[in-house]
Symmetry: C2
Subunit: 515 residues, 2 copies
């Protein structure tokens, strides 16, 4: 049969190993839908809001190591997906972001949906390519994919005018060119080793798109050998943890504990990390978290390849990984309310081997992270972009990438509302995701932030803007309404039992944990 530009796009993706699409299409994407339907190597998942599709593509790539494709409808569809594309970009996650566009001859007519798609896409993409003909869309696609493999990893947007999709072509699908990941600087290994040998007062800050088990073991060995401080950035896109992997400490999210922890640092080795900065600026507080006089050595570029650099550094130092014996998870009172400590203990005790934790616990996450580090082997995914509503979509992608693993999504209620339509796709695609909603019924972080930023304390007129009370959300009904089974728990023992049920029965399943 004859093929068209849409078929060539689908074939080019499939030829280059890209087989998963998270879609929310409209009229201008119907030829792409038809072509993806004909390309038997491609699997599509319908998302009923674009932010779900873009976050799912992020989660898929983090866990599979290869990009997924989105399929979005014109400028407004792209706009709805941009917050989670922002998060993917900040995590250097490769995403092939496909946006349908009006046919070329329709663009100047100011039709209702006409918008500046390239302008929008540029704000969240490393590269934006608009296809200009059916014959060349394969080459455009291969070029976009090539750019996502190397130092430009992140979001690549391909804009597909409808006439490019529907025009026939006989061109064959081309192959992408793999580009090398940014490497560490071998000349920095010696100086970095000498700096860390200063012990106290020296810091090694880790930040990669993926901190592997081996990287964690090497970092721990370097810490043991030198006595330096080892931290990861406050949010790491993906980290292997648990199951005897030495736990890494994170730089605190809040500016005061972070500056306090770093105040003795005289020399900092950056391994895949940037010099640390505060999440927000606060009056009278520093935005740059290291003391002014700190000497900074860049061992490897931000979000680049980390393991090779750490191997070289450990070899230089003669640091060998030593066995780590996990600590016990403390017992908690079964009747205790659900709070950061009991939450952390319940999850650490029940988390199945090889689980994937997608963490958007925000104000409640400290113990959770620490205690799970003593539990079974798992991957931990954090949001590097700061745009909330990331975790349920990312969980979808992780579950699609790893159908034989359990995914645990832990999210505040305020965050979960941004992309609650995720629940429907979890049910539609029968994904083994357990969602824990931490129902504190407020944007709790904001009451604290308000005074921290010098805007006073909440008053009668401002408290309503920080609260999710009145009316109270009922997450059991919200989940059921989307086709997902759910239950509500309100103490430590109930939470632990609910987690056990969810992990043994399989997902999707939602647990509303009232705090």
């Amino acid at each position: 049969m004859t093929k068209n530009g849409a078929d060539l796009l689908a074939q080019t993706l499939a030829e280059n190993g890209i087989d998963t699409c998270f879609a929310n299409p409209g009229t201008t994407e119907m030829h792409l839908v038809a072509a993806f339907g004909r390309e038997t190597r491609m699997t599509t998942h319908l998302c009923v809001f674009e932010g779900v599709a873009t976050g799912a593509a992020d989660g898929f790539a983090r866990m599979s190591g290869r990009p997924a494709v989105t399929l979005l409808h014109l400028g407004p569809g792209l706009a709805n997906g941009m917050a989670n594309l922002h998060n993917a970009k900040k995590a250097a996650t490769p995403v092939v972001n496909i946006v349908g566009e009006h046919a070329t001859h329709h663009l100047g007519l100011q039709a209702p949906l006409t918008a500046d798609i390239e302008g929008m896409a540029a704000t969240v993409s490393e590269s934006v390519i608009t296809a200009t003909s059916a014959d060349t869309i394969g080459a455009d696609t291969a070029e976009l994919l090539s750019g996502l493999t190397g130092p430009g990893a992140g979001v690549g947007t391909l804009v597909v005018p409808n006439d490019v999709a529907w025009t026939t072509t006989e061109t064959s699908a081309p192959r992408m060119q793999h580009q090398p990941k940014p490497l560490h600087d071998p000349a920095m290994v010696g100086p970095a080793a000498r700096a860390l040998q200063a012990g106290p007062g020296s810091l090694m800050l880790l930040g990669a798109a993926f901190i592997t088990k081996r990287s964690a073991e090497l970092a721990h060995a370097i810490e043991q050998k030198t006595g330096c401080l080892v931290l990861t950035e406050a949010a790491v896109a993906r980290m292997e943890r648990g199951g005897g992997i030495p736990p890494l400490k994170r730089l605190p999210f809040h500016v005061d504990p972070a500056t306090d922890l770093l105040k003795q640092v005289r020399v900092a080795v950056l391994a895949g990390a940037r010099a640390p900065v505060a999440f927000f600026a606060y009056p009278g507080r520093a935005s740059e978290l290291l003391p002014d006089e700190t000497e900074i050595l860049a061992l490897s570029p931000p979000l680049g390849e980390l393991e090779v650099a750490l191997e070289a550094l450990a070899a230089e130092l003669g640091a060998r990984p030593v066995k780590y014996t996990s600590a016990d998870v403390p017992n908690t009172d079964p009747q205790a309310p659900i709070a950061p400590d009991t939450l952390g203990a319940a999850v650490a005790r029940t988390l199945p081997d090889r689980a994937i934790v997608v963490d958007e616990s925000i104000t409640n996450g400290g113990f959770l992270f620490t205690l799970c580090g003593e539990g079974k082997s798992h991957d931990w995914l954090n949001n590097r972009g700061g745009s909330i509503g990331y975790s349920m979509p990312v969980s979808i992608g992780a579950a699609v990438a790893c159908p034989d693993r359990k995914v645990l999504c832990i999210t505040g209620d305020g965050s979960a509302l941004y992309t609650l339509q995720s629940l429907w796709t979890m049910a539609r695609s029968k994904l083994d995701v357990t969602v824990v909603i931490l129902a504190n019924r407020s944007y709790r972080i904001l009451a604290n932030e308000m005074s921290k930023i010098g805007a006073g304390t909440p008053t009668d007129t401002t408290t309503p803007l920080l609260s999710l009370e009145n009316p109270q959300l009922d997450w059991v009904q919200l989940a059921n309404g989307h086709g997902v089974d759910a239950e509500r728990v309100s103490n430590s023992a109930e939470l632990e039992a609910a987690l056990q049920r969810a992990f043994s029965r399989g997902g999707p399943r939602l647990i509303e944990a009232v705090m």
Copy 2:
């Protein structure tokens, strides 16, 4: 007490008659929240997704005639609000879109939430101003407001760096300068009148931000006098209808009936409208809907002032409004399934006087629009931007603007999902909105569009991307979960009874109408 840049912003808004804010703030907006809390003339409504806030601001301005303010959190918050800003822009609705930004000194540090806010905003705004100091933010605000009153009506974005908000100032709040709306061309009145006197073969196409009762009466008088074809654009931002106002016909949404209706047109008078174009391009079909040889006369500019132009045209023609006697709404079988005709009849029979209808019925809306035109007096709001998920947010704004009127929101289930968080704000702010969800459990428009655009018919692999079955959404639970009472109906009589109950008890209330 001392005041800061945030206070000056709030005071400038209030001094210029802007008193309503739809907010989804974060840390960088805490000083704005505090200032809005201190400004006693300002009322704030919390929205738990930004697209709700921006759509609400659109609906508020359409019904009140003055802009509301949004309050969004940095680039990702803006991104989430952009689809409904796109719709507002296309409707020329004035919106004061306020976006918080990092403090100036924090911007270069690549903090997680740093993004190109101005670049994003430019794609959906008529103007973008970034405040540079606490002393000048009042002048910036007044300039932005001034720009929204005249030919540049639409979205004005004010970016507020956090340090600008928190720095003290003694500057007083300035006043805006009202600019005139774009006027009609008096020299075109005579030629337009002569063109319409040709009767059949001549078209008057109306398109304004607001087609008033008087405009409808004048257009009807001109149609009666000349025998010309009078149509409105396919979507009008706001139209007064019913209660004996002569009903205006709309240009059909679909390209084939539209070109068929227009094929005899030899001369077209554009009154507040653009030359009509197809919503999408289709292979082998025209994008421009008027025949090639049509002579076009522009009486008044797109979305400008319409009534004065029509008064002049009617005077030139000696056309006087004549009384219109409403037709009867046809009876329907109480047991009939809910379908376009029975839906239209049920709404037309029950719609209370002075109701506001926010219409996102898409594939099901033809009879609804026509039959309501024979019912009681009401306003009809349509989406000019084509980005779905517009109607529930716009209903929020309409209800806040007109607390003594009933708001009826009619939306497809697929559309409603994009901004279902609207339901929570309806409950929180106790708004008298009745939402009818047309539950056809599919993106029904797309199956039709797929073949129309030449992409074949849905297959085993593509049908799932067009269907909302499996799992079925339960809108009663989704509404209850957000704190809104709801019921499900599945025939004509049940729908009519549910509408009567909702209108008599007051909202918010949701009716899931299974089709």
